[in-house]
């Protein structure tokens, strides 16, 4: 199981070569910081980072 973060939207994809969030193919193994957004409508953290889709995100990529 490899967790790859998208360079564009920081979404973490598991065993995928294409980002399931934005469709980009620029995925990287080099990321750190872990953020799970469960409810993007109510979460202030999600609003601050401009996240609208629930899921797992990296805090920093590359």
């Amino acid at each position: 199981m490899t967790e790859l973060a998208c360079r564009k939207c920081k979404f973490i994809n598991i065993d995928s070569t294409v980002c399931k969030n934005c469709g980009s193919t620029e995925l990287t193994r080099e990321w750190y910081g872990y953020l799970i957004i469960i409810d993007p409508e109510k979460s202030e953290v999600a609003k601050k980072l401009g996240i609208k889709i629930p899921g797992k995100y990296a805090l920093k990529v590359g």
């Binding site: 750190y32 910081g33 872990y34 953020l35 799970i36 957004i37 469960i38 409810d39 109510k42 979460s43 202030e44 953290v45 999600a46 601050k48 980072l49 805090l59 920093k60």
Partner: protein, 150 residues
């Protein structure tokens, strides 16, 4: 209005705890909105929740959870985890640094050049007889003195 709590976990199990919490929250539809596990904060996860009770239900019985830190924290206090700055951006020429990994571990050095794009810095070891420039990753040094003496 969300509240922020810190949950103590076993070191290096922060992501496991975060994933398990996500599952319980979805299962019981609790008022927990996000879970944050910054690399800088070992052994803790930060949880954004509606109220303390929701958080306590979410972590009840979970492995690797050691407890909840008393009191709550504010968004302003965790903001800096959300947008981590590159290590090189915090280092300026002339800073005294200690190298914390690699063959020069433990050596003190003075910063000569900073490459923010590559996240690398070039330093000269203080104790070396002949000053040789060494390029290291900015994450591999710790700032000792910011006085910018040249």
């Amino acid at each position: 209005m969300s509240k922020y709590f810190a949950v103590k976990t076993t070191a290096n199990q922060e992501r496991v705890v975060a994933n398990l919490m996500e599952m319980t929250v979805k299962k019981y539809r609790l008022g927990v909105y996000s879970v944050l596990a910054p690399r800088e904060l070992k052994g803790y996860v930060i949880v954004e929740a509606e109220k303390m009770e929701d958080l306590l239900t979410a972590i009840r019985g979970l492995p690797h959870v050691k407890g909840v830190v008393k009191g709550e924290t504010a968004l302003a206090e965790i903001e800096h985890f959300l947008a981590p700055r590159k290590a090189a951006e915090q280092i300026k020429e002339g800073f005294k640094v200690e190298i914390v990994s690699g063959p020069f571990k433990g050596e003190l050095a003075v910063v000569k050049r900073v490459d923010e794009a590559k996240n690398e810095i070039t330093v000269e070891l203080i104790e070396a007889v002949v000053p040789i420039p060494v390029t290291v990753k900015a994450d591999h040094v710790r700032i000792v003195d910011k006085s910018e003496e040249v």
